[in-house]
Amino acid sequence: MNKALTPRPQMPMGVLKTPFHERMDAENFQQSWMNWNGYASPGVLDTAEFEYFAIRNQATLFDISPMCKFRIKGPDAEAVMNRMMTRDIRKQKPGRVSYVIWCDEDGNVVDDGTLFRRSEDEFLLFCQEPQLLWIKDVAWGFDVEATEVTHDLAGFAFQGPTTAATLRDLKIRDVEEMRAFDIRDIKIAGKRVMISRTGFTGDLGYELVMAPKDALAVWDAVYAAGQRRGARIIGNEALEMARIEAGFLLPRVDFISSQTNLRVNRARTPYEIGLDWLVTFDKPHFNGKRALQRLAGVAPKRKLFAIEISRDKAAHHALVYHRKTREVGFVTSALWSATTKRNIAYAWLEAPFGQIEKDDLWVEIYLQREIEWQRRMERVQIVERPFFVHKRRTATPPLNF
């Protein structure tokens, strides 16, 4: 056969399976799968409600392997991360995690993520969107190596009130001293695991990261130990409910990354998203600093608000009105929060609504009841984020539940 015609090895077809796939598949009664960054990720395994209540009352395992992951290593790693992020990374000590955002030259948010400082000269960045080229552009001219490790690291979030007790059962002594946002290197089932006290749920929880070859051993050990305390595997739907309650925002849902928007004026600044608490000017130049300094002085043209809505119907995709007539915004994420017993949502409101004009705001909710549609105008109240955060999230040492 002609050598030129010999088929070359191809990329795998379709969605990929994460290292935890067979365990999730075995318990995925719904066989509901979503495509997350090219990987099969469970939407819901049993029912979203069971899984949601497991987050709030028991312990849950959620596969975060598909998350984009990058390693930044080298003598200039701190300088590069400090140059990329709006926070002062010089203050982040080795062994700590921080929630970060980064901006483009116009001060628009590119993405958010969690930054793990592994040592003086090594960071891991976990985020939603592919960012390797962005990191490399920021790192140009600096002595640092940036690599994508998305496929080289497996991980799962272990979240819920009974997680600490489960880890105690596994004889993980670090649990006693780990404060929120601490990182430790531990062993589970004899395998090396990076554990951090972080999460997406506003409650006690951990994230465990390990080599893909060790993934099942660690998962099995944690899952087995958790059975006494109600551990279950959860999918995206339940997590989505918890993340809305916990006050976290999702790129592509609540805002658009400035690297992916097609229409002008769709990119959003930290001041509009309400993440300006992550921006500090008391540090050397960082990407977008000059634009952000200009933006800091003016009222944003629109802002993302946490809102509470009367009655119990979630205001998915609803429009927001002033005096029930003038359209002033729209809802991005909405939920009837079973834990807080509040009807909550995030909504974009054009200035001055929400900022100065806070009264007489309404959402228009459409309800379908056995084919027939009903329209409801419900009152909106501007509230603070998060909707839910439990004190056991940060209590150290964590209590047994």
Partner: protein, 503 residues
Amino acid sequence: MSGDFDAIVIGAGHNGLVAAARLAKEGKRVVVLETSPVVGGLLGGSDPVAAMPFGIHPKIHSGLGLARHGLRYGAPMKTLSLGGEGRVEIDGAVARGVSQAMAANYADLHRKLARYSGALARMLTKAPPRFRDGVVGDMLTMAQLGLSIRGLGKADMRDMLRIILSNVWDLCEDEIGDGPLAAALAMDATLGGGIGPRSPGTVLTLLYRMASTGSGGAGQRSTPVGGAAAVVSALVKAAETSGAAIRTSAPVARILVDDNDRAIGVALENGEEIRAPLILSNATPRRTLLDLLGPQHLNAEDVARLRHMATNGMVARLDLDLAELPAGLTEADLAHRIVVAGDMRQVERAFNAAKYGELPAVPAVEFTGRKTENGWRLAALAQFAPSDLKGGWSKAKKDRLAKSVIKVLDGAIPGFGGKITGAEVRSPTDLEATYGLTGGHWHHGELRIDQMLMMRPFAGAAQYRMPVAGLYLCGAGAHPGGDISGLPGWNAAGQAIKDGGAQ
């Protein structure tokens, strides 16, 4: 803010000197810091790289009183195009040595291009408009360009907009036909750039060059009495009589920035620090921002734009020594610019090779010359000689280029080869090493539609102001670009003064 000076100009090229002179004339205390022992940049030294300058813009000439400082011009330089069968002489709109029909067509074409370039010329003496944020003044500048094009009349406007982004090959084929005359125009349209006659946008580069009005009028090179050195000396005098200090052999290592994101001075390579609240850099955009300022002061987007700026130098400089002139070349001829390229096809072929990192077998050449103690010295420019030559530049490659250039000249001027007593080649990489020219590109960056006007040096950094407050770009990398007009330096100094200068 206190400082040793009101302004520091990095680099004593002609643009740096123009900027320094203008600032000093406005009463600023200025120091010019030059890396090399001589001033003048590409115009400096006894055999300057830019041997045939287009000429300092009349506005600068009068603004700095250069006549008072001894700068005078002879008659505009004619062009001789020798590569073909006969000898074609071009003097503005007049072409001799071609058929009557071609001469008439050429006269029409030249007049037309001169009108179009006149519409463009108004843009050269202004800071280019910004598109971002819709600033009213910038919109007006843009509107003025529109108006001046509209002012040409409907037929001309349509024609200009039809040809402006097309290529010089098609234009010449349509209007005058190929041959040595067209080849000379093609040289004008492409010299210095990584573009061949068939590359889109070469009509624009031709118009742009014609708009760089020196004393010679549209598109003709000027003939300063005393050569390029006279231009440099007049600019030095203009700067120094206004009080500017010029320091040679004072290479700048770094631009200093304070905690408030302001440029506050420079550090020399010997460690000396000089402070001033205003810094104008005549170095290339990339050298200024990536080497002297450093990426840590820039957004990643700007760093990427700088990295991706087209700056591939395509011209090699040859100095050829001749014991005596061959029969086909007279002393009077050497007062002109002599182009040796038989037709546009030859120029395009030379470009084809360079495009892929090769040396052309038959380069396109232009030269001028002067008498020396031992005979004659010709200053030749050969294109296309890519700075990114495959395998890099070496003595063997230079010898090959010299040989091919001599062969071309010998073909056009019988007996030429036998008179050569010495040849020295300076490749684009040599120019980069000597003058700090990024990529050896003598315009500091390709002059093409996506790197002109508000896109020069790159989108978002036009108007001479660099991202760090107090830092300005005043060299050919800024609008309106190269060709020894002095306008980037003039405009940058004007912008700095307008912005408040040393406050």
